[in-house]
């Protein structure tokens, strides 16, 4: 399972970085979204992967040192909320840039290179 999670995080991050480096705003927004998925999975894994255990101290599992760490779960929740809000904001900003600059290039220039 570790390999699967690591692979998923790696692929998401790789795709995210690739998309963020594109020159148009839509792929960039998609790339930011993929990156935030990757970081959420990553944060989830920072408490170490534990299967089928409650995140409760004092349980029988906890006595064996096998409880699921509750803190990363709380962090992921916070990160999801913030990431969601920021994605909404950057989409609105991209739409505004599309309207004000006349195209969806991140620098606001046409393919020919002239700056609008």
């Amino acid at each position: 399972m570790e390999a699967l999670i690591a692979l998923a995080i790696g692929v998401l991050t790789g795709c995210g970085v690739y998309l963020v480096l594109r020159a148009h705003t839509f792929p960039v927004v998609l790339g930011l979204t993929l990156l935030s998925y990757a970081v959420n999975l990553f944060l989830f894994a920072t408490g170490r992967l534990v299967i089928g255990q409650p995140p409760v101290i004092g349980s029988a599992a906890a006595a064996l040192g096998q409880l699921a760490d509750p803190l990363p779960q709380a962090l992921v929740l916070t990160a999801i909320v913030i990431g969601f809000a920021m994605t909404a904001f950057v989409i609105m900003l991209s739409l505004r840039a599309r309207a004000e600059l006349g195209n969806d290039h991140v620098d606001g220039r046409q393919e020919g290179g002239t700056q609008s």
């Binding site: 963020v20 705003t25 960039v28 930011l32 990156l35 935030s36 990757a38 970081v39 990553f42 944060l43 894994a45 920072t46 408490g47 170490r48 803190l71 990363p72 962090l75 916070t78 990160a79 913030i82 809000a85 920021m86 904001f89 950057v90 900003l93 991209s94 505004r96 840039a97 004000e100 600059l101 991140v106 620098d107 606001g108 609008s116």
Partner: protein, 516 residues
């Protein structure tokens, strides 16, 4: 009152922001007075906080009274209180300038402004790594609003870059925080510091990667080379009072670097000690050089001021990096003390230049603040004189506080020829850039009989608020100069406190019962 002093700088702007949001239908003058009152209250609270911690006490505020490291703590030590005071003073004058019309160019200016102060104060006071991330997000979200305030194509373009880069930075911050938690098992800064020395060998690589990723994030916020490219366009493109307030924003990154470098990765961190040292000084020197080259190449006063922000961050981090090198108690603390003296000076001086650039934009109809001749502006002697004083301050010429700050940094850098060379040559470049700007802006008026079309009339509103804001910032710089002895004593004490993180850790983790 004292029990809640550590959270007051965070709560007051937050409540003021909420109040201004609910009262958004009030007429503008009333909202301005409310915002001004809130800003004044924050200055008062910041002074009280500074007085409370100046003797070396560390105020710890446990949110929900959960003991650290389980709950989130706010920690006010000398460094945090100093940063809060600088922020509130800068915000007061930026707000006065903004009430001269900038706040009418979009809705909710005052709300977002207060939220920005909320995020800034929180970032300085928090003692928890993930909470630092949350406050960074708050101040960034507010800064997106402020940066785009007023709109316009150039602002939108620079704003898009700024937002995307900072979102990437936030993602990296989360990766870094996750790595730190995975390897050290805590997010409380004091607890991380206490555990850093005993990091398990198999986790050492993770912890180092996490620490260096943190440095990368903070370097992005501080606009350290090579992560500085977003700053000039963003700061030069936004409204003048916003740019003036943003002068403190890049210092947040510098603050975070200093805090983590001294507390978490200080000398007591075992194999993680001095993690930032190999990177910080070269990057800071390159930042200062790049900032001054940019200033030489700038074609408008706004851009020039933005590049000087980059240069001032470079100077600041050179000082902090020197603090990482020397032995604790001697050269090390001298570097940090010099940097903490230079920090308010650099912030106020660059903010001043942003406000002056706006003054020129309003009075020079044809060429605005770009370095080109224009018709004779009204009261040019007054504005030229103000520009001259601001330029002296920004380049660090005597007699103003920039000279004292740079002198202290050079003194702390004894026997380091590279540091001397870069600081002195870049100071010369700064003098040339500002002298050239002043000559172009004030000495070469366009002749009246040229064939150019008649110029639009200078808008005849009073310059009182602009002059209050500019004069206030100048007074702060004068105060820093005259009170240099007292301020340097304070920053030395701050540096000594930072060099010995044991007291901070003990206060937060309650080992000595420093509870208040």
């Amino acid at each position: 009152m004292n029990a809640h002093l550590a959270i007051a700088p965070i709560l007051v702007p937050f409540l003021a922001g909420v109040l201004l949001l609910t009262l958004r239908d009030l007429p503008m003058p009333l909202r301005r007075w409310l915002a001004l009152f809130a800003a004044l209250a924050q200055v008062g609270i910041a002074i009280m906080l500074l007085a409370a911690v100046a003797g070396g006490e560390i105020l710890v505020y446990r949110l929900g009274d959960w003991p650290a490291p389980w709950g989130i703590v706010l920690v006010a030590d000398r460094l945090a209180a100093w940063m809060v005071l600088i922020t509130t003073l800068l915000a007061l004058f930026a707000l006065i300038h903004a009430s001269d019309g900038t706040d009418r160019k979009g809705r909710h200016f005052h709300v977002v402004f207060q939220m920005q102060l909320f995020g800034l104060a929180g970032a300085f006071l928090t003692g928890d790594l993930f909470n630092l991330f949350v406050f960074f997000e708050i101040l960034l979200i507010a800064s997106y609003g402020l940066m785009l305030h007023g709109g316009g194509a150039a602002r939108t373009r620079a704003g898009l870059h700024y937002v995307v880069l900072n979102l990437l930075g936030s993602t990296v911050f989360l990766f870094a925080a996750g790595l730190i938690y995975a390897s050290l098992g805590s997010l409380n800064l004091a607890d991380i510091a206490a555990k850093a020395a005993g990091v398990a060998p198999e986790n050492l690589g993770l912890a180092r990667a996490g620490g260096l990723l943190l440095l990368a994030v903070f370097a992005l916020k501080a606009a350290l080379l090579p992560l500085h490219l977003w700053l000039p366009a963003a700061y030069a493109g936004t409204a003048a009072p916003v740019a003036a307030l943003f002068a403190i924003m890049s210092k947040v990154g510098a603050y975070a670097i200093l805090r983590t470098a001294t507390l978490v990765f200080g000398d007591g961190a075992g194999s993680l000690a001095r993690l930032f040292e190999p990177w910080l000084l070269p990057a800071a020197l390159a930042t200062l050089a790049a900032g001054m080259l940019g200033a030489l190449a700038a074609t408008s006063l706004g851009r020039l001021a933005a590049w000087l922000v980059v240069a001032s961050v470079g100077t600041l981090l050179i000082a902090f990096a020197l603090g990482q090198q020397g032995a604790v108690g001697t050269a090390g603390t001298a570097g940090i003390a010099a940097g903490l003296y230079y920090l308010p000076h650099g912030t106020f001086a660059t903010a001043l230049l942003f406000l002056l650039a706006e003054a020129l934009r309003r009075r020079r109809p044809a060429s605005a603040d770009s370095l080109a001749p224009d018709a004779d502006m009204p009261r040019h002697a007054l504005w030229g004189g103000l520009f001259f004083v601001a330029a002296v301050a920004a380049t660090g010429l005597p007699p103003l506080s920039g000279f004292v700050g740079k002198f202290l940094i050079l003194k702390a850098a004894a026997e380091q020829p590279w540091v001397w060379a870069v600081i002195l040559v870049s100071a010369l470049a700064g003098v040339i850039a500002l002298a050239r700007a002043g000559t172009r802006l004030f000495f070469s008026a366009r002749s009246a009989d040229s064939a150019a079309p008649p110029l639009p009339v200078y808008e005849p509103h009073s310059a009182a608020r602009e002059l209050v804001a500019i004069g206030g910032l100048l007074l702060l710089i004068f105060a820093l100069t005259i009170g240099a002895g007292a301020v340097v004593d304070f920053t030395r004490a701050t540096a000594l406190q930072l060099a010995d993180p044991a007291a901070y850790i003990a206060a937060v983790l309650g080992l000595e019962g420093v509870k208040r």
